[in-house]
Amino acid sequence: MAYEVSIFLENKIGHFERITSVLKEAQINIRSMAINDTANGWGILNLIVNDPKKAKKALSEKGVSVALRKVIALEMRDEAGGLDDLLMEVARAEVNFDNAVGRVITETQKAILILNVDDYAESIKKLKKQGVQIIDDQTVYGTSQ
């Protein structure tokens, strides 16, 4: 199973840079990122990195509120209609997700879609039953390169 790194972040100047500089120092490669903002002056920064556990450790040591969350990575065709087709499949599998981020993996000429789901095990089961291709961790983290 793949993990994303979730970080509590205040919307203040310099706070984002603080996170990225910690990760730079720990030699962590950020593969993709998404910020979930609220209107209340804070948000959650979700990162896909090459080594989630190491990233969490490095951030925790600096006192950052950080958590690893299981995500589901799905393969989609890197062409017109690719995302739409994939989302149709997900809907047919009756899987609910509250956050998604897409990304192209240049080395494989494929695109992946990363989903946050409430019930991880159940969602995996449903997607497999629907025949949706779930991408392995190494491809998500990009550590095979």
């Binding site: 205040e10 209340n40 002056g41 950052v64 509120s65 950080v66």
Partner: protein, 439 residues
């Protein structure tokens, strides 16, 4: 249930008998106060004469005494007896301006020791206990105040003094300490030393009673201390102007602090209007000594905020109970027409494990309206990366603070470690309002 008292004849006095005793003692107090420079001058100017009070409710006709009065008349302006009759003084550190100093004759010290013994007995301490007083001795009243009380009660006293946690633990283990007195924040630190030594106070000591006080704390903090040490912890209240510890104390029902009304006349006033508030409502505690000869104080404004708990206590003591101190009237601020004490907000946050108890209150003018912005830290170990969960946490805190102080706050979740750690009574309020009252 067995009813047990240190002085049943005083502790269970019927209300009318108690008031009669108060009236006699108040007039005696006024008489002796008039012999002091301060009250002599003040009362002759206001034409207040001994015996003028016919009913205890007339106390409100007398002027207040403030801490500033004590400072302005430093050192001997409040003495009602010649100096040769005085045998001890206690004083505040007085880091700004004159210190606050209180004088005692032998009667005063005996009376104080007796009240202290009554207080400890009320919390279940007996002459069979080994009592370790973890508290600074010297000018501070907590050391000698407890010391004389423990001895009067007849328990074995260990005058351990403050600090040196390893020695405190050794004393506890060597002599089988069963009861101790300390400030709540120190008990937290002492527990860490127990842990670091690989010891568990629940198993490795014989502690069963802790007396805590001298700094404001919440009921949640008390429960935490009780769990850490496997004891019952009792809240004590006192202030040096009223002798020190032994003014009000919790009984074994742990439901408010009996304030000894045969020795102190108690009023609760609105700190803004200076008018009395009904029982049950919060306000500033105003006290009059009824049994002090060397230095009587009449209608002294303590600045402590509390309330009278309505109703009777099951223990049988008729002396009314005050609630734990929720703050100082100096700390109070008014927002959206509501009187707010920072301790009320701390009390709400203490109950929410995700945020702990570090907070900041910023009073701001936003779009022409005054707002109370409460910053709370999201604790790292509770963070799950879930935005919905944090959102609902923020709403919960907002609702609970509003229910407590009646004004709706703007709650801001902030990163762990971004709020400076509190040092006991640290100021947690900043007032950036256009017409702010603070600062």
């Amino acid at each position: 249930m067995t009813l047990e008292f240190w002085q049943e004849e005083f502790e269970t006095l019927e209300k009318k008998d108690l008031q009669q005793l108060q009236l006699e003692r108040l007039n005696k107090t006024i008489e002796s106060a008039c012999r002091s420079l301060f009250y002599g001058e003040l009362y002759s100017k206001k034409k207040i004469k001994p015996g003028v009070i016919k009913d205890i409710s007339q106390i409100t006709e007398l002027p207040f005494t403030t801490k500033q009065d004590l400072r302005d008349n430093f050192p001997y302006g409040f003495l009602s007896l010649p100096k040769k009759d005085i045998i001890r003084l206690h004083s505040s550190s007085g880091t700004t301006g004159n210190p606050t100093v209180i004088f005692h004759n032998r009667h005063d010290l005996d009376s104080w020791a007796n009240l202290m013994a009554r207080s400890l007995f009320c919390a279940g301490v007996r002459d069979t206990d080994v009592f370790q007083n973890i508290c600074g001795y010297g000018l501070f009243t907590g050391g000698l105040g407890f010391q004389y009380g423990i001895e009067t009660l007849g328990a074995l006293s260990i005058p351990a003094g403050a600090g040196n946690s390893l020695r405190q633990i050794k004393l506890m283990r060597d002599y089988g300490t069963t009861a101790a007195h300390a400030i709540p924040s120190y008990l937290g630190r002492l527990y860490e030393v127990f842990e670091a030594e690989g010891l568990d106070p629940k198993k490795d000591t014989q502690l069963k009673t802790l007396v805590i006080g001298a700094e404001p704390h919440t009921d949640a903090q008390r429960k935490r201390i009780e769990e850490m040490y496997g004891v019952r912890a009792f809240n004590s209240f006192g202030l040096s102007e009223m002798n020190g510890p032994g003014v009000a104390f919790e009984c074994t029902h742990q439901n408010g602090l009996h304030i000894w009304e045969d020795s102190y006349l108690v009023e609760i006033i609105d700190p803004e209007t200076l008018q009395p508030v009904p029982d049950g409502e919060y306000g500033e505690l105003v006290m009059t000594t009824l049994d002090r000869e060397a230095m009587p104080l009449i209608r002294y404004r303590t600045r402590d905020i509390t309330r009278i708990i309505p109703g009777e206590c099951e223990c049988g003591r008729t002396h009314r109970r005050i609630d734990r101190i929720t703050g100082r009237s100096d700390d109070m601020f008014i927002i959206k027409g509501c009187n707010v004490f920072p301790m009320q907000i701390e009390g709400v946050l203490m109950k929410i494990p995700e945020v702990g108890s570090d907070y900041m209150i910023n009073l701001e003018t936003m779009n022409g309206a005054d707002e109370m912005v409460v910053e709370v830290e999201v604790k790292s170990d509770w963070f799950r990366g879930d935005i919905k969960r944090l959102d609902s946490l923020s709403k919960t805190i907002t609702r609970q603070i509003r229910d407590e102080v009646l004004a709706k706050p703007i709650v801001k979740l902030v990163e762990a470690g971004s709020i400076p750690k509190s040092e006991g009574k640290a100021i947690r309020v900043t007032d950036n309002r256009k017409n702010g009252l603070l600062n």
